[in-house]
């Protein structure tokens, strides 16, 4: 198991998580309610409450390199039931942002899927499912993803072959463009 | 004595002994840090606070006056804060006609257990007073100002009613 040096807590990291999430990390008393309700716990390497604990103790690397922050489905069960009114799902989101910015992607497929999705939106203004699947398969190398579903979906006309190009797709593209330039944090 | 340090303004507090003075004590016991401007005068009950004390303080040059008592219904003397609420509300509403900035006077309720609330009230009120800055002197501040005022008054001035 990994051994943490508590004296080497990264206080800047703690402060950044707090500032970006507007949540007070210290109010977490580790009751585990978030973990108890989290449907994704079985897939995590650190449970939600452990992520909270690692943030409390300033273990930046452990948090940002964890799988868990990528596998959170933002289902809000933790946030809804936290006895200390902490928006835990938001903190998971913030950690994922910070991990991206730091160049980590422990669950690479999840990241690639999100990137493919947004590329699709940036290109057409709306999500183009078939297109983003293609990009995802190409970039993740998982070329057989859900091929079993294709006949069923195609047969029922669930996947249009052409993207919906909206008139304002330039406006949407500019959103992404300005975002990349400005690197807006929040 | 006027506030000696430019960092401080002169804020006078009137607090009832049972609730708010206790709340201020609770804040102290909890080491809830606060600005130092406030000076607290302890009275048994907010019902003892004559609005004229507040007027006196303002005319003497106080930059802010803060009154705090027990929450309505919680008065140690059952009814004191009910009377206080009427008197203080009327003063608060009356101040604008005098030219005193009504924001320099505030009244609120803080119980003996509300140390954090007291810290919040003091911090916020002090911040407000600092935003308003030092209060103008009703009496002229220098001999020259005295003379100017006397001259102006002697020349007669336009009164809005008797024009």
């Amino acid at each position: 198991m990994q051994i943490f040096d508590l004296a080497a807590a990264d206080h800047a990291f703690i402060a950044e998580v707090q500032a970006r999430s507007h949540q007070d990390i210290k109010t977490c008393y580790q009751c585990g309610n978030c973990t108890a309700g989290c449907p994704y716990t079985f897939a995590y390497d650190y449970s939600v409450s452990q992520i909270m604990r690692l943030i409390q103790t300033g273990q930046k690397d452990a948090v940002l390199k964890s799988r868990s922050i990528w596998l959170c489905g933002s289902c809000q069960s933790c946030t809804t039931r936290c006895p200390n009114n902490i928006d835990v799902a938001l903190i998971m989101d913030v950690c994922r942002h910070m991990a991206r910015e730091a160049g980590y992607a422990t669950e690479r497929a999840v990241k690639v899927f999100a990137d493919s999705f947004l590329n699709s939106v940036s290109r057409y203004g709306r999500a183009f499912e078939l297109g983003l699947m293609t990009e995802y398969m190409a970039r993740s190398g998982r070329i057989f993803t859900d091929v079993d579903l294709a006949p069923s979906a195609l047969m029922r006309n669930k996947l249009p072959f052409k993207p919906h190009r909206i008139q304002g797709r330039d406006q949407v593209a500019r959103i992404f463009e300005r975002f990349r330039k400005g690197g807006a944090h929040a | 004595m006027p506030a000696q340090d430019v960092r401080e303004l002169r804020i006078v507090g009137f607090l009832c002994n049972w609730c708010s003075y206790g709340g201020a004590d609770t804040a102290g016991v909890g080491r809830f840090s606060q600005p130092t401007d406030l000076r607290i005068i302890r009275v048994p009950c907010s019902g003892r606070i004559d609005p004229l004390f507040i007027v006196r303080a303002l005319l003497n040059g106080a930059d802010g006056v803060l009154v705090s008592g027990c929450h309505p219904r919680d008065c140690h003397y059952a009814e004191g804060n009910f009377y206080a609420r009427r008197r203080l509300e009327l003063l608060k509403r009356f101040l604008p006609v005098t030219g005193f900035d009504a924001r320099r006077f505030e009244y609120t309720w803080v119980s003996a257990s509300e140390g954090q609330r007291w810290q919040h009230v003091v911090t916020e009120f002090t911040r407000r007073i600092h935003e308003l800055g030092p209060a103008p002197n009703f009496n002229p501040a220098s001999e020259m100002d005295w003379n100017a005022l006397a001259l102006h008054a002697a020349q007669g001035q336009t009164c809005p009613c008797h024009g």
Binding site: A36 | S33, Y83
Partner: protein, 660 residues
């Protein structure tokens, strides 16, 4: 005037952020100050001796101590100056600890502020005058509100101490929450075996008058002389005749309303005696469900009653008693767990409260002491206990620890194993709070001897699956999620202030805290006193408490009452209002606003109406002083001139003369 000033260091509490010697030096420049010094601990014996010595040596006639809050040590120093031969009101305090050193970080600002507070105190002291207390007699009778174990203890101790006691209980029987319990921790002795004899003592004690089904309607007066009105609610049974034979209870045809004593686990007849050991053992009718009272026909109870004590016409009755002191022992209520929708909000019958579980465990309960789950009456095998339901939870505005749930849960886990040997208990906990004699050992026994599985974590949700309840929680020690298929889930609900506590507090002028628990006079030094003289607290009305602590406080409150009433006379605070008849125009505005009726109108020798204060009734609030436009009625020790002196000390007027 010759004033001495003492600036206390309070160790480093004050001296840490206030330059005490400099404050003392500044004080020497104030008018009438002839002596000024700093001292390490003014309240200590050497500190007080130094004050006394200085008064004598320097011929002082007034003393200012700058130290902690006057709410802490004003009395201490007043006694000290009295020992030095001064009147106790020739003393003022400047609060330079709670209001200066503990809240400000900048030393020069703190030092200046401390000096100004001392100046304020000096200016006030210059306008003080000696005041002398009046004496008055006390009523030798005490009111105890609440007949739970704390109230029972307080009542018995007061009664044994020779005082008359009036005990008022809202419910039909005394006994409170403890009467519902099966066993008690950490001894696992029978609750009713412990409490029962005390309840009987209440009924039989010659000094105790018991009013059940009764509430305090109003309270007037002051320490030593309270007037209390008690509302005796209609029971529709003449208790002077009722023998408690129970025939009516047996025959009552209306048996559908929830049995509150059994926490709604079963129903009760409309005329009922709540439990076999009830004190008083008298029947009472539930007006809301009684067929006679709701529909005008039936009357079976009246027909079968051998002593003809049923009275459908009975009305509420008001009783007035004079008492010298009041003990408040109104206890607590249980948190309403429906605020946790993730636990089913009552949709799942086999999710019950710990108090309901007590009733299931109790031999006098609805199942005769056999654990049967409500849904199908089956004996549960997997029993899950969830702690901190309504405790330590900000999201439901209950951030405090209820204190006793850890212990009663351990007890219930032990009893579960006793009742159902092949059962398995699971206890979801956050931390185990067991700081009492034999307490931690007891929780260890639950785990080690009785095999209760303690799981550290909260429970996020409960949902039914077939005839089980799936309890999904966390095991934070294992670092993951856990699920238990439970047959019964027991919620360890926390304590909250008793319903109606805030309203009672208004009547008694005892302030509740933000959660509705009554505030004691001092958390350490005056735990059973309140800020209203003559009103004392016992038990969980002051904050969640277990049985030993409640009993201890009941006795503590009783000792305070006995101490108070043992004096033949009490001294009134001389800081009361006083009328200057010369200035009084007899308009009576002060009489109109006084909340205590402490001012009366008299005629002077010329027949002019004048106001006069009744010293022992006046509580010293000063509402009258502000009401009087002539300033004819002044609250002693807080006169207009004294407060104006403080204002002027802080904000000196700019005089025209200053420029001449």
């Amino acid at each position: 005037m010759r004033i001495g000033v003492f600036i206390c260091h309070c160790g480093s509490n004050i001296a840490g952020t206030v330059d005490c010697p400099s404050v003392a030096a500044t004080a020497l420049t104030y008018p009438d100050v002839v002596f000024s010094t700093d001292t390490m601990y003014a309240c200590s014996e050497p500190g007080q001796d130094a004050i006394i010595q200085a008064v004598k040596e320097k011929n002082l006639d007034g003393v200012v101590v700058a130290s902690c809050t006057p709410r802490m040590h004003e009395q201490t120093f007043r006694r000290a100056v009295e020992r030095a031969g001064l009147n106790r009101y020739m003393f003022e305090m400047a609060n330079i600890r709670e209001h200066v050193s503990w809240i400000g970080k900048t030393k020069d600002l703190n030092t200046n502020k401390a000096a100004e507070l001392v100046r304020m105190a000096v200016e006030k002291l210059r306008r003080n005058r000696p005041l002398f207390a009046k004496r008055f007699e006390t009523v030798k009778r005490v009111l105890v509100i609440g007949g739970g174990v704390a109230g029972i203890q307080a009542a018995l101790d007061c009664a044994d101490g020779g005082q008359e006691v009036v005990l008022v209980e809202r419910e039909q029987s005394i006994g409170g929450k403890m009467a519902k319990l099966d066993k008690t921790f950490p001894t696992v002795d029978c609750s009713s075996c412990v409490l029962g004899p005390k309840m009987v003592d209440i009924a039989q004690h010659p000094n105790i008058t018991l009013y059940t089904c009764s509430e305090v309607e109003s309270v007037g007066g002051y320490v030593g002389n309270f007037q209390v009105t008690i509302r005796k609610k209609a029971t529709y049974v003449d208790w002077s005749k009722c023998t408690g034979c129970g025939l009516c209870v047996e025959k009552c045809p209306s048996r559908k309303h929830p049995d509150t004593f059994n926490e709604g686990l079963c129903t009760a007849p409309s005329i009922n005696i709540p439990f076999p050991q009830a004190i008083p053992k008298k029947a009472a009718i539930n007006a809301a469900s009684c067929i006679m009272l709701t529909k005008g026909k039936c009357g079976v109870c009246a027909k079968v009653c051998p002593v003809k004590c049923i009275d459908f016409e009975q009305k509420d009755e008001l009783v007035t008693v004079d008492v010298g002191a009041v003990v408040v022992a109104t206890g607590y209520d249980l948190f309403d767990w429906h605020k946790y929708p993730q636990y089913g909000e009552g949709r799942y019958k086999d999710v019950i409260t710990s108090m309901q579980y007590e009733r299931l465990l109790s031999a006098s309960g609805p199942t005769g002491g056999h654990i049967k789950r409500p849904s199908d009456g089956k004996e549960p095998k997997n029993v899950v206990f969830i702690q901190c339901v309504g405790s330590r939870d900000r999201s439901v505005n209950r951030p405090y620890c209820s204190g006793f749930c850890c212990m009663y849960t351990a007890k219930q886990a032990i009893l579960t194993k006793d009742h159902v040997p092949d059962s398995q208990s699971f206890v979801f906990y956050m931390d185990i709070r067991s700081p009492g004699k034999m307490y931690d050992e007891f929780t260890r026994r639950a785990m080690e001897e009785y095999g209760a599985q303690y799981v550290r974590g909260r429970v996020s949700m409960i949902y039914p699956q077939d005839d089980k309840l799936i309890v999904r929680g966390a095991d934070t020690l294992a670092g993951t999620q856990v699920e238990v298929p439970a047959d019964l889930v027991v919620l360890a609900v926390g304590a909250e202030s008793a319903r109606g506590a805030v309203q009672l507090g208004e009547k008694l002028r005892v302030a509740p805290d933000q959660y509705g628990f009554f505030v004691e006079s001092h958390p350490k030094l005056k735990p059973v006193e309140t800020n209203t003289a003559g009103v004392f607290l016992a038990g969980a009305c002051q904050g969640p408490k277990d049985i030993p602590a409640s009993v201890g406080q009941g006795s503590a409150a009783a000792s305070k009452v006995l101490g108070l009433l043992s004096k033949k006379e009490l001294e009134s605070d001389p800081a009361v209002s006083r009328v200057n008849p010369g200035r009084c125009v007899g308009c009576g505005k002060c009489v109109q606003t006084c909340p205590f009726g402490a001012i009366k109108m008299i005629e002077d020798r010329f027949g002019n109406p004048k106001a006069e204060v009744i010293d022992t009734v006046c509580q010293g609030c000063g509402i009258c002083t502000v009401t009087c436009p002539q300033g004819a009625i002044q609250l002693e020790h807080f006169t207009d001139n004294q407060i104006l002196a403080e204002v002027n000390a802080l904000c000196p007027p700019k005089m025209f003369a200053n420029f001449e």
